[in-house]
Symmetry: C2
Subunit: 197 residues, 2 copies
């Protein structure tokens, strides 16, 4: 059957977000990355910055931080509350329209829908390091360390909320090494698969 | 660059071997699965049956079994000896010709060659169970148990000899869920990628 929704999980620096955006453009469907953050911030009452930084961060870091956002948060930790809002919005989006959704455990949240294609984008450390330096510039930290830290957060977040191992091929319908295959070819493959009968 | 060699790692029942054979046919290159077993048996002096059964089995099972095959085995356990012969033959094949190689840690053995495309094929348990019952018939053991046992052996073998985690997307250039994508489409994608510039 044709795939209405594409979820993109990605290593930091792999170009997964760019692949997602270009796939959405190619297919003429919505793209949710920053747009998802805005929605979650609005719905949760949390700031966009907090949602952007914490929405894929290790939940155990803030284990004892509770939100004081009124009855919606229902005594949950602030990360669990953020997760619950993200989950609700992702489920609503999938109901409403064709789209590409980047990160935020969308593959897991939408695992029972048959009209989804779940993709994982990775690349070797050298390629990813080159990419983040080109995109975001140098910092005092070595790019390899920046990569490791960011992906560690994503991994802990994913594993905490899904009880699955982040990056296991079995969690996705397709995984691609963007460094070897190239970003454009990744887009070709995903756009083609989305139209599958 | 064009990819001269395609390695296929696969879950039992995922159709990875069939995908590999059809990809080799499509590209008009050699296919090594049973053919590899024959070569390894001939070179090692071990029986084809032993190579077929043990070549991807847990090496720790036979930790105290040593081969008595003369000086070539050099005091290694029989599984380490088998591994060393398999490794040598896979390296020689890659030097010699374009081909598709199924299993036997070929992705790891050939990891430093840039002219290889490393693929992993998986599928969900239901699809794999249907496939093995269709291909190999029913047995007293439930298909789910047969799948789990076979993949456990492959996993232990892979992890023992490569120190990598079996099935991690990062070990491969592409991973495909054959149950969702379909065997024919998997062949299309791999054959297309092999010709990449």
């Amino acid at each position: 059957m044709a795939k209405k929704i594409i979820t993109i999980s990605r290593e930091f620096g792999s170009g997964g977000r760019t692949i997602g955006r270009q796939t959405a453009e190619r297919l003429g469907i919505s793209f949710y990355d920053k747009e998802l953050i805005e929605k979650v911030a609005k719905e949760s009452g949390l700031s966009e910055q907090f949602v952007a930084e914490q929405g894929e961060d290790s939940p155990t870091k803030n284990r004892f931080a509770y939100s004081f956002l009124g009855r919606e948060s229902n005594g949950m930790s602030v990360n669990d509350y953020l997760w619950s809002v993200q989950r609700k919005i992702i489920l609503e989006l999938a109901e409403k329209e064709s789209c590409v959704i980047v990160g935020r455990c969308a593959d897991y949240i939408l695992r029972d829908r048959e009209d989804c294609l779940h993709a994982f984008i990775c690349a070797d450390v050298k390629k990813k390091a080159e990419r983040i330096v080109k995109l975001y510039g140098e910092t005092e930290k070595k790019p390899e360390k920046r990569l490791a830290e960011k992906d560690k957060k994503r991994r802990l977040n994913y594993e905490y909320y899904t009880e699955r191992k982040w990056g296991m091929a079995q969690n996705y319908h397709i995984s691609l090494d963007s460094g070897v295959i190239g970003l454009e070819k990744c887009v070709d493959i995903l756009a083609d698969l989305a139209g599958m009968e």
